[in-house]
């Protein structure tokens, strides 16, 4: 079992940027479902997607994602 949880601030930053999941999905070129699963920590995105999300939300990857040990 992976002892780490990948925390993210997508929901908070989306709200700050007035973006819906669908709009963020459109901006980074994935489905809304992918945004939803990343946001709910069901799916761990690739480095490329993480970078795209950070760029779309105008923050660094470290600000967007962080590791939390269980």
């Amino acid at each position: 079992m992976n002892p780490h949880i990948l925390n993210n601030r997508i929901k908070e930053l989306r709200a700050r940027n007035n973006l819906t999941q669908a709009q963020l999905a459109e901006a980074v070129g994935v489905t809304r479902k992918t945004i939803n699963t990343v946001e709910n920590r069901v799916f761990i995105p690739s480095t490329v997607l993480a970078l795209k999300l950070a760029k779309a939300l105008d923050v660094s990857v470290e600000e967007l994602f962080s590791l939390k040990e269980e």
Binding site: G29, V30, T31, R32, K33, T34, T37, F43, P45, L49
Partner: protein
């Protein structure tokens, strides 16, 4: 509904059709083989089995037409990369994994059954074909449908 949601919905419907029609078609053939092998033929089975095979085969043809239609729509769409994104790849891998485990379980089951009951290789192959094709497709479509409903 946007283009991406529409295409995902169409893909799920198409996949359900593909999996179910194949299972009905080949399941009918399988039932026919078993009935003939065991001599269990009745008036009812002689009516129901060919009907199931016919319905399944027609459904399979319809599913293939749907698949061609979907492939052409997807090819024309600029959203192809969006629909086949990372989560899609993960769901696909999960469906294959579950399909593979199910197939191994069915093979083990068939080996155990073979110790007690005689059946032909063709029956075993047909069972494996149904499981190997229908299970991963159904799992993939189910995961996608559940996630789409959750995301909505």
């Amino acid at each position: 509904m946007d283009e991406v949601s529409k295409l995902i919905g169409q893909r799920n419907t198409m996949l359900f059709w593909v999996a179910i029609s194949f299972a009905v078609w080949q399941g009918g053939q399988l039932a026919d083989e078993i009935v003939h092998l065991r001599g269990w033929g009745t008036e009812m089975s002689n009516l129901v089995i060919p009907f199931a095979v016919l319905i399944g085969a027609l459904g399979w043809v319809a599913a293939m037409i749907m698949m061609l239609n979907y492939a052409s729509k997807l090819g024309r769409s600029r959203k192809q990369a969006v629909i086949q994104d990372e989560a899609y790849g993960q769901d696909q891998a999960k469906a294959f994994r579950i399909g593979y485990i199910t197939l191994i379980a069915v093979i083990s089951g068939l080996m155990a059954v073979d110790l007690m009951i005689d059946f032909t290789a063709s029956i075993a192959i047909r069972i494996l074909l149904i499981v190997g094709i229908s299970v991963p497709i159904l799992v993939f479509a189910s995961i996608n449908r559940a996630d789409a409903e959750e995301a909505a």
